[in-house]
């Protein structure tokens, strides 16, 4: 009898607990999303704007498909254009090997996905530059009390500055100094990238310096007893010890970089998602709001993916994960 009842409990009780755990992992987030969609669907038509009612999830979904369609169409046209150009050039060269053939890029407007790609490239470049500056500087600040005292006020002052304040200055400086007949990068790219760098380097800098300053005194003593040289000390003790803190900083920085980039692109009219949003806003068609909403969701989703990617790298690199 008892064996039967325990078996029965095992058969029913344990799986149901598993089921509960799974439900919590999958079902609850799903429920949250569904509730949000429901609220959005019901509330959106109530909000009237000069461009018609605020788009609900259905319209936004449709516009998402539309944007994808536009992208594939554009790609096809671009492929055709390039094929024609190549054929024409081949013909010209066949007639006259000395002919001056030009290879032009497809002149069509960038699609939504092109803008996403531009934005991703810019944010990664700006973030990489910020990290290259912030980590070594943070190590220096963390190791040296004098450095810390000297640099700390600067960090505190520049940390809260909005990208919108930097942007005009960066634009002017880039226009004045980045002069070249055959520029490797677009000026708009350089401007956005530097703005992203200026705004996103602070969390990494602060976290790195805190992590470096917080190396366990015991480990510092081990390093002293072993008479490690300065560089060996930094490489073998300080850096590994502060890797978890550095990564926390990097993750915050990347999030800020992504937010700043959209604002910078919007204001600077440099290509990317921000420009897409701004163009749609200026365009003011009946679909504009839906298209902007697609961009909003894309921005959020990409930001989430970027953070996940950093988390994955952190798990690979950090010893405490």
């Amino acid at each position: 009898m008892t064996t039967f009842s325990t078996k029965w409990i095992h058969a029913v009780g344990v799986p149901s607990r598993d089921w509960l755990a799974q439900a919590q992992q999958l079902l609850l987030p799903l429920l949250g999303i569904l509730a949000f969609l429901g609220f959005w669907h019901l509330a959106a038509p109530q909000v009237q704007t000069s461009l018609g009612a605020f788009p609900g999830p259905v319209q936004v979904w449709e516009q998402g498909g539309q944007l994808w369609q536009e992208h594939t169409n554009q790609r096809e046209r671009a492929d055709k254009f390039l094929a024609l150009q190549e054929a024409r050039n081949a013909r010209l060269l066949a007639d006259n090997p000395e002919a001056d053939v030009r290879i032009r890029r497809y002149p069509g407007a960038p699609t939504f996905l092109d803008q996403v790609r531009t934005s991703l490239g810019t944010v990664l470049a700006g973030f990489a530059l910020a990290s290259l500056v912030a980590v070594p500087l943070g190590v220096m600040v963390g190791l040296n009390h004098y450095c810390q005292a000297a640099i700390n006020p600067l960090i505190q002052i520049f940390k809260p500055v909005s990208p919108l304040a930097w942007l005009p200055l960066v634009t002017m400086v880039v226009s004045a100094t980045y002069v070249s007949d055959d520029p490797m990068f677009e000026k708009s790219f350089v401007t956005s990238m530097i703005t992203v760098t200026l705004c996103s380097l602070w969390p990494t800098l602060i976290n790195t310096s805190v992590g470096v300053a917080a190396v366990s005194p015991d480990l510092m003593n081990v390093s002293r007893v072993l008479r490690l040289s300065f560089w060996t000390h930094v490489r073998k003790v300080v850096l590994p010890s502060s890797v978890p803190m550095i990564f926390t900083g990097l993750r915050v920085s990347l999030g800020i970089a992504w937010m700043v980039l959209i604002a910078a692109e919007m204001l600077a009219q440099s290509p990317g998602l921000g420009k897409f949003v701004w163009d749609e806003f200026q365009n003011g068609s009946s679909q504009s709001l839906s298209r902007i909403m697609v961009a909003v969701l894309a921005i959020g989703f990409i930001g989430f993916l970027l953070d996940r990617a950093m988390l994955l790298i952190q798990k690979k690199v950090a010893w405490n994960e």
């Binding site: 917080a214 005194p217 480990l219 003593n221 002293r224 007893v225 072993l226 008479r227 590994p240 010890s241």
Partner: protein, 285 residues
């Protein structure tokens, strides 16, 4: 053998505090012969660790100094290897790599790669930790980690091995086990050892000499007790040995009668309740 190996002369240590200098040590004199196992015992806050840190070179004495093999000590170095209370292993390195860091630093010129590898393995075998060579400190117990800390220190071939309450953070059984291992290793290598301890039994069992320190401020050497028990020593048979009981009695009487520490429990200086802050440090590390 009878020549003085390590000598502390007139050591005074004063720390600057907002209320003026705090004199922790006053006129500490100590001579230690080669191969001697010396324990420093005393109440919390009497400056035992300060003495050890001065010998290690991690602290500079305000007055007086420390001479090892005829050379003045004024900086830390691997010839005075330290075993820390909380093992102080790098948590991101494996057991092997932790010892390797020390061995490569000390012997990178005098040993080739193969010899270093053998030497690392040899030291891990000495403390019975070769089986866990590829584990991280977080994956082994506190007692095992402390063994690795000892292996790392021994692998530096130090003239003096400095141990700062090496078994303080361990449970009683693990502690007894490691004490036995340490006695065996000491028998084999005949190192000069200075060990800080709170544990009277540990001091009597392991030491050739017990240096008992008076209470601070201005702590100094109170009594110097030579433990004349034959080696190898066995904790079980010694427990009934009249000489052992007598030595133990002497230390206890020094600590609890002559140097009785009058302090109420809630009036302790937080820095002196030795175990708590250090465990915290290791947790954050």
């Amino acid at each position: 053998m009878n020549k003085t190996h390590l000598e502390l002369t007139g050591v005074e240590m004063a720390f600057d505090t907002p209320k003026g200098p705090f004199v922790a040590l006053d006129n500490v004199n100590l001579k230690i012969r080669k191969g001697e196992f010396v324990s420093l015992i005393g109440h919390s806050g009497c400056g035992k660790s300060t003495v050890l840190n001065i010998v290690a070179g991690l602290l500079q004495a305000s007055k007086g100094g420390c001479v090892l093999n005829g050379h003045e000590v004024n900086a830390p170095g691997p010839e005075r290897a330290v075993v820390f209370q909380n093992h102080a292993l790098m948590p991101w390195l494996t057991v092997y790599e932790n010892v390797e860091l020390a061995v490569r630093q000390v012997f990178r010129k005098s040993m080739n790669r193969q010899a270093r590898k053998q030497w690392i393995t040899h030291n891990l075998e000495l403390v019975n930790m070769a089986h866990a060579a590829n584990k991280r400190p977080g994956e082994i117990s506190g007692g095992m980690a402390q063994r690795v800390g000892i292996a790392r220190a021994l692998a530096m071939k130090p003239s003096v091995l400095l141990m700062d309450e090496p078994f303080g953070a361990l449970d009683a059984l693990t502690r007894a086990h490691l004490q036995d291992s340490l006695m065996e290793i000491q028998q084999e290598l005949n190192n000069t050892v200075i060990m800080i301890t709170h544990d009277v039994d540990e001091a009597v069992l392991l030491s050739d000499r017990i240096i008992m320190m008076t209470n601070g401020p201005g702590a100094t050497v109170g009594e110097d007790l030579h433990i004349d028990l034959p080696r190898p020593r066995n904790r079980v048979t010694l427990a009934d040995d009249a000489r052992y009981v007598n030595y133990r009695q002497e230390v206890l009487s020094f600590l609890y009668e002559k140097q009785r520490k009058l302090e109420s429990l809630n009036n302790r200086r937080p820095g002196n309740t030795s175990a708590a802050p250090k465990t915290q440090a290791s947790a954050t590390a």
